[in-house]
Symmetry: C2
């Protein structure tokens, strides 16, 4: 009998570096899970690739999938939809493979409602000064946009209490190591493996 895989959810405030950490995890050695590519209605940024960074869809296409119940989670964020296709995730977990989601905080909370035994990891900035500079330093945005981002980040940090782990993104390599250790450890949680040992006891 195949043991169902782990659903690993990486989230955190806007600008904290979720995407960078996620990419580094997948490029590092000793990882053995599937990355669930998110779907979004936002515009493709320079350097992004369809089907690699995101599945880029129109608002109409995305809403059709929601209506068909084909999203594990979805959220509207800064005027765009972001979401996780359901079928891919479930099929992969059933095959005994771990699935790795890197999603916004709103989406992570919806996943938690549906998959309570997922591993929820919150990526945090090393300190708030740096978070502020990340939010402000992104480009040429107006002050009101920056202030809005600050309020969103504040609310997101407040949501940390709903997560299992908080990983500081001080250096990408360190954050990657911490997340890999968390995943390895979660595979050893008694609640996940006890059925194997109950079988061993019965055979004594």
């Amino acid at each position: 009998m195949t043991e169902r895989g782990l659903l690993i959810v990486l989230s955190g405030p806007s600008g904290v570096g979720k995407g960078t950490v996620r990419k580094a995890i997948f490029e590092s050695e000793g990882t053995d899970f599937e990355y669930s590519i998110s779907m979004t209605t936002r515009n493709m940024r320079e350097g992004e690739v369809e089907g690699v960074d995101y599945f880029f869809r129109t608002r109409e296409e995305f809403e059709e999938l929601i209506a068909a119940g084909q999203m594990l989670e979805y959220a509207e964020y800064a005027g765009n939809y972001y979401g996780t296709p359901l079928t891919y995730v479930n099929d992969t977990l059933d095959q005994g493979k771990d699935v790795f989601l890197e999603i916004e905080v709103q989406g992570a909370m919806k996943v938690k409602e549906k998959v309570a035994d997922g591993v929820f990891i919150f990526l945090t900035p090393p300190d708030l000064t740096e978070l502020k500079s990340r939010i402000v330093g992104r480009g040429t945005d107006e002050l009101s946009v920056i202030e809005e981002r600050m309020e969103i980040a504040k609310a997101e940090i407040d949501m940390m209490s709903h997560y299992d782990y908080a990983v500081v993104n001080d250096k990408v390599e360190l954050a990657v190591d911490r997340i890999k250790e968390i995943i390895n450890s979660e595979h050893l949680r008694v609640a996940r493996v006890i059925h194997r040992y109950i079988k061993m006891i019965k055979e004594l």
Copy 2:
């Protein structure tokens, strides 16, 4: 303000190799915790050192400490007392240092009653054939003694459900790595660090 250290409890069936794994952990790099040496009334075995492997005490001395409330836990096992001196453990945790206990299953359950947020790790044999050979292969014991050990082991495995993690002791180095990863990860649990972030939010 110093954050209270983690109480790490390593336990598991008789003969599974708890002592060997514990020693290897303390000899390995990157560990930063105190080992709480247990107290016992059993006879010293060849190679064991007073104050290193155990504090060896008479039955009378041990019972005086119990009466004085100076044991975090104690248990009678195969006719001898085993226990953990209380004061040392509490003082060390308060200093922000992690404390590592390697104790019998009975004792671990008593610690759990008193320190619910401890990290409880159950060391398991790679398979039951090997557990059996470990129990049988120890020496020149009578069949009734061996059968008694088997029943004890069966009950102990049954108790695994009360632990947080199950670590297979297939190779000592691998068991050590797994335990170190668990300890690192437990330091990142939101329930343990959330107060730091609540402070950050207030300062925004």
